[in-house]
Symmetry: C2
Subunit: 135 residues, 2 copies
């Protein structure tokens, strides 16, 4: 049976990373590791690691992205949590056997060789859950 | 300067813990540590620790609780993230100096001697943030 190892990150949607850093970095004191462009998701992401988990601030960089639509509809706030799994193929098989509704039925190959897949929030009681297998 | 040590937990609002466990425990395979009644918050909480962070499923046990109203208004989903801090008094002072809007201006004494305070979601760009100092 595939195993969840840890929470990899918690992703927060923000309208503007620099403005949101006034709270997360300047007031709370979290360290900004770096800001990265994510053209595939039409967004920019700020990484603030704390105790082995990343807080990620995700800002849409295009009005037609999924993140931009989410922000327009729901406003800024928590977007998803990402769980690191030891074997993503085995986990997706396990979830399909239990009829868990998936956004990605097969892993998607992401930057740096990591594999990811999203579980549908309907299956996770309103929570958007991402699965990661790191290379 | 007070320091955030880690994410202590991510709290998810659910209508019914037993039903939600069909996903979080039975499909994903997270371990249910225990379910605890939280009469102060008029809720029950299931604790599913993973990699040093707790996933908490919070179910209202009374229709007039804050959690019940949240659930009615927004549906199930992510509710708040809790950050462990080394010195909560110093952190609250630091936040007040930066005009961060707080729900609790002073720490509240919780179960087992832990101290907690909530930051207003307006200050945290739509995210409800709890601070913990463990005894």
């Amino acid at each position: 049976m595939a195993k969840i190892k840890k929470i990899d990150h918690v992703a927060l949607v923000v309208g503007d990373i620099e403005t949101a850093l006034s709270f997360w970095r300047d007031a709370l004191g979290l360290k900004l590791e770096h800001i990265q462009d994510a053209p595939r998701e039409k967004s920019a992401i700020a990484f603030l690691p704390v105790g082995g988990v990343e807080v990620e601030l995700v800002q849409p960089t295009s009005d037609d992205s999924g993140i931009a639509k989410y922000l327009e509809k729901r406003g800024p706030g928590m977007h998803h949590i990402c769980l690191e799994v030891d074997d993503i193929e085995a986990m997706l098989t396990q979830l399909k056997e239990k009829d868990v509704q998936l956004i990605h039925k097969e892993p998607v190959l992401g930057d740096g060789g990591k594999k990811y897949a999203f579980i549908h929030p309907k299956a996770a009681f309103g929570v958007l859950v991402e699965l990661y297998e790191l290379p």
